[in-house]
Symmetry: C2
């Protein structure tokens, strides 16, 4: 009897989902609620949910419960990766950057261009309270200079977080930086000198390309595949045929293609770095923003000899304007520490103390649970609208975390023209070319889903789709 | 009659000063008070004060009134400058820095080592209020990313301040940075490449030497003379005999020797920079902390073609822990702006907004008047104690601004040994070697007078003097 009971419960829930009573991203009733409302045992409720999990209709999320998964959109393929030419080249992406900045400076724009969470998605009251608490120190510690390595209590709080991705860290190994930007810059500076060659993935976050440009480094790139990320053979081949002095990889939810490296790949990359003695700078600034059941691990988890330099940030998930990040530079710790002192002396005391309190008192963890759920919903809606409003032949990623969707438009639609036309309508997007050193991705765009979500956002996305359609039919795209 | 009257008034005041009723640094009664209390006209009171000004007994201070000057200490000479070898060399001052950092990390120390104002000397309530005001923005602008060039209102507020040193600035020319450290780094990076030679003055703030080291630049140095600073011929000769790609100069109250360049010298340096097309990076981080009648001008005031890159900071005078500075990179504006974006994206929004409010609502100007008076008093007391407690043959500067006193000990007293012995007593000082690239100034120390002033500070200074005396008599100093 009980065996059939759970099927009945499951069918009922599935019908409610099909009826739209529970929307994609919505939370399902707790096991206890099912038990009370439907008069079945908690064990039966659990069996019913397992059944739905198996069918992919719902998903479990760490300490949060069960949620309706997003609808499957089978007709839309993943964006294709490009195979970048293996030759190394110097990096100049300035022209495109200038354009992006002009567009996003205006506050009246609906901007899908920046991968930064809107203030509405952040725990403003708690942040404000944390700062006010810091200001209460009669000794005004918030005005003195901090240890160049960073406030010790903050470094301890960050080290504690390592357990969420299976790492055992130590405060002494950590250096607090002005955002992940400075973290990556300092690590790069510690392991390279101007003219050296660095391996990056393609597509690659333009901030990383700028760091290379700033330090007059050459780049060689290997393809990242939406979904699975880079291939180990590509990494090995590129390092075999070039004198690669360092690799920079975003292992979790690569910006822009959302690629997530498997633990197996991470282990292999760490082994490769230690075997070949090539430093791998791992920029894990999206790892905390996962939509799956658990926080993904890092390449650094598998490091044995200090050849993996891990960088992180709180800009994407808690306090963008604070510009606070960190790094664990492994065997290059002493060098990076000195460079931090020389580059900016120390990060601002007051912001370090406030962040420390947000980590210590659990605000960040509580916020993350809510934040991830909200972003997951935004992603579902964004995907649904792109599937519906964009031209046939549009492909897009299925990111399992992060803040952005990577969209491949039909070949004849030029992202540059989309950007220009969208600009006229007060909508900003990031064109694909920004994410490569060889001007690839001319028909790709990146769409952030970290905005506040409202009717205006939805309409802007629809307009964007319409605009792509009209550009396609006018056939004035890329030859 | 009136003629004699003013002499009488002046004599009376002078007697009160000699009696110690008015101490060095104390404010004298206003002209109106003299008029009311002594029954003389305001004109007579003014004549009396002019008389005392002429005699050097009192000094006038901008918008503040008249003050007792510090006692003349004729038996103490100025520290000697050294003539650094003119050969260029790479920079490594790491060993000494490490030591300085360990010592000053402990909060129980009486530290004369750091040139940073104690919290007690800062307008804490106003700073706290400014931050709280920023936090009230319901749009949470304080959490979004700022324009990489810096918040526009803040840049306007800084530009307005230019009039205090006779400059007419524009917000568009300004870039907000993470302290003057980043400002100097970005300017250096814009005008040099690794391996280039940069001219510095000796003694030179170790932070500047660290910037050279960070960027793998070579240095050639010219002497700075306590009081008058560098000589124009030295600058010209060094640039004639070396391929100097840039000069870095602290024109106002050079750290550590307090040297102040005359307007005439500044004009000549600006002309030289423009004639020879050699960028001069002017680090004016102490200009606001003047003890004389008016804010000194800058080399930048006399720039005609954008070859002088002016850097400033609020770390020394208002909000040390905010790490906010700025630069006006002249003809290198576009390059520096891009480098700021690449190096740290933008400075923290919340701190920029709070600083902007402190500048706009007059808090900074009001604070500066009080702050300068307090520091002037600290300096007077520090000089008196050094004159009294340190061994015969000690020389020290007479800085007209800034936060530090530069002390030359008798040749047989090693600053390194003073540092070590002082450390045992819980006192920190900065040894002279830190301020040169060729390990000069082995018997010099730098003493900050920006601490809170109390019995403990005084006793620590006396201990320091005693310690130097005993080191001198034990004769274990420099050979």
């Amino acid at each position: 009897m009980e065996d059939l009971l759970y099927i009945n419960v499951a069918k009922k829930m599935e019908q409610l989902i099909r009826n739209g009573v529970y929307q994609p991203g919505d939370k399902l009733p707790s096991l206890r609620t099912v038990h009370l409302q439907q008069g079945v045992s908690i064990g039966t409720a659990l069996q019913a949910y397992y059944h739905l999990l198996d069918k992919g209709v719902i998903r479990a999320r760490e300490k949060s419960g069960y949620f309706v998964t997003r609808p499957v959109i089978p007709e839309h393929p993943l964006p294709r990766s490009v195979r970048p030419s293996l030759s190394q080249r110097s990096v100049t992406i300035d022209k495109q950057m200038q354009r992006l900045r002009i567009e996003t400076a205006s506050r009246n724009f609906v901007s899908f261009a920046n991968a930064i969470p809107d203030g509405q998605l952040l725990p403003l009251t708690s942040i404000s309270r944390a700062i006010q608490q810091v200001l209460r120190d009669p000794g005004a510690g918030y005005l003195s200079y901090e240890d160049p390595k960073g406030n010790l209590a903050l470094r301890r709080a960050i080290a504690k977080r390592g357990v969420t991705w299976g790492a055992v860290l130590a405060a002494e190994d950590l250096i607090v930086t002005n955002g992940a930007t400075e973290a990556v810059n300092l690590c790069l500076r510690a392991v390279t000198k101007p003219g050296d060659t660095v391996l990056v993935q393609t597509p690659c976050y333009y901030g990383i390309l700028q760091s290379l440009e700033l330090m007059q480094l050459k780049a060689v790139s290997i393809p990242s595949h939406a979904g699975s990320g880079i291939r180990i053979e590509d990494l090995e081949n590129a390092c075999a045929s070039h004198d690669v002095k360092a690799c920079i990889l975003v292992s979790n939810f690569n910006n822009p293609d959302g690629a997530l490296l498997s633990s197996e790949k991470k282990r292999k990359i760490a082994a490769f770095a230690n075997r070949e003695k090539i430093p791998v700078i791992e920029d894990d600034l999206y790892g905390d923003i996962f939509f799956g059941a658990e926080r993904p691990d890092t390449i650094h988890n598998y490091d044995s000899g200090g050849w993996v330099l891990l960088c992180g940030s709180f800009s994407k998930s808690l306090v963008p304007g604070f510009r606070l990040g960190w790094c664990i530079p492994g065997r290059f710790g002493y060098k990076v520490e000195r460079m931090k002192l020389m580059a900016s002396h120390a990060s601002p005391s007051i912001l370090q103390l406030a962040l420390c309190s947000l980590l210590q008192n659990g605000v960040y963890d509580r916020h993350l649970r809510e934040f991830r759920r909200t972003l997951d919903k935004h992603l579902t809606r964004t995907m649904a609208l792109v599937a519906q409003a964009f031209p046939a032949g549009t492909a897009f990623t299925r990111p399992e975390g992060g803040l952005v969707l990577w969209v491949e438009l039909p070949r004849q639609v030029s992202a540059e023209m989309v950007q220009a036309a969208a600009y006229e309508k007060g909508i900003a997007i990031a064109p694909g070319e920004l994410f490569s050193i060889a001007h690839e991705f001319k028909n790709y765009i990146r769409i952030s889903f970290a905005n506040a979500w409202n009717k205006r956002t939805e309409n802007a996305l629809k307009s964007l789709g319409q605009l792509c359609r009209s550009l396609m039919s006018s056939n004035t795209g890329i030859k």
